[in-house]
Subunit: 117 residues, 6 copies
């Protein structure tokens, strides 16, 4: 696995564990829980929901959230052609301020795809 | 047509015309143009793209943008069950700050559905 | 009760009920639930937590969220002197973009206080 | 004067006075003060600074702040051709989410210009 | 002192000095000044005000601002149990988009606490 | 050229090329195109427009966008006295949340100026 992917996953996992191990964190725990449930298959497929999560993360310009949803989209076999259209909506709605995040998203998306080869 | 829908559409149309009729507005015109093209059928369906536009508008908390995409989603036959899941993603990702916009979105969505009866 | 307060409460209540009565709204319901629990007495008092909720709503510039937390702060006997210091932090951190929301917050805060006389 | 302009100015003035008359508002007062000083003639002209204030208000999507800076730009004789280019930058950088605010800005700008005839 | 804390403090101090030493920076200087005054003891304690500053920084997702207020909260003896409730409000109000910032906040908070041992 | 400037430019260029080389990226391409056109000489000079782009990037707190517009402002001979007034507007309108971005902007601005000596 590429180091950028590995490092990101490791840090996220480590700190999530620390947050979940903390005392007095009931609300945080429930939000994490809800985060998992929200993207499950329902009236909309997980695939579409992860796209919704991704585009939201892009217009809110949260790089780590973007990476997370890119991973999920990759697992759920979103194609690169579809991905470019998600990037398009995000850049149109959110403006050129989204471009630097799109550059990093593109890099991470390519890394995820190179993994698989 | 319900007055809330009619008034919103009339104001939007009137002011869009004024913006497009203005001198020296080449960039604005091209953004409007691009706005139309971005949501056309492609690797993703217009239906999914309108959902992406809606969820983006919700987390960025723009009521008029939300209304616009609700209209489009309604035309493209997004169901109320699907809509509730879009609302769910928006409120999870964007937080409780999205709730007041969800109340207004719910009202507008119900008006759009009552129209059709 | 002043009409501005009454109307705001009535609309909020009506639309919350409609959201909670909708099918397929499990996530929304749980977020509403969590919203109630988060502000309960704990390591921090409800009073301080409502102040935290208020200042967050101010810097995120959500008028309805501001009104809601102003009501809660009023119930929990936050004083006007304390309120001005919350406004101060919000305007300092969030910038002059928060001023119009502070004007409306001030108006609502005064209405809440006039009620009681 | 058009009612939309008059009402906006009256409310702003009334509530600013109430904020400035409040006890324990030293920070708010100093922010208001600083707000006046920042736009004064300096290395940059007031005219350019008001444009900077306007475009910032547009990308942050604060309608009342936009109106305020539109008034100032009008007083400082910003032309409609220049205004359209400010709108262009705001919509490009901030995305289509800025369009509804641009519609309202356009309306207010036209009202300000009609005043003068 | 841990390197992450030391480096952050050193960079902040160095660049603040450069900003304050610059010509024509009167407004910046006054904002820095106001920043100090706003958090002083008043109707609300510095302790509560720093919590307000922290939660504002979290929902606005500014990592450096978060670190700064974490340091202040630590100095003012905010407990870890209280901190988890501030994190809870921030994540509830601001949504899951706040989670990556909470992970980094948690890491920095733990570093600050390890210092003291 | 200083490494910070060189690295930033190289990464930006590399990833922009990858985005423009991707299939199915028509919208992205047109946004990039529009981005170039918007800042061209018009009713407002490129110089003023780049200032508008910079202040927008600062209040929206996008470090890479800030760097890009700092480079353009430097090329168009914006002075350091003018720059401090742009920083002032950004920090006033956007609040203290903009300070960490101003520190980094100041550092990059100084690097750009040291280049030239």
């Amino acid at each position: 696995m590429d180091d950028k992917i590995k490092d990101f996953k490791a840090y996220r996992e480590k700190m999530n564990e620390r947050l979940l191990a903390a005392n007095n964190n009931k609300v945080i725990k429930r939000i994490f829980n809800l985060d998992t449930n929200t993207y499950m298959e329902g009236a909309l497929s997980s695939r579409v929901k992860e796209m919704l999560g991704l585009v939201s993360s892009m217009v809110l310009r949260c790089d780590d959230c973007i990476k997370y949803h890119l991973e999920k989209c990759y697992e759920l076999e979103v194609t690169s052609d579809e991905m470019m259209e998600i990037f398009a909506v995000a850049n149109l709605v959110g403006g050129t301020i989204v471009i630097p995040h799109t550059r990093r998203a593109m890099e991470y998306w390519e890394l995820l795809n190179q993994e698989a080869r």
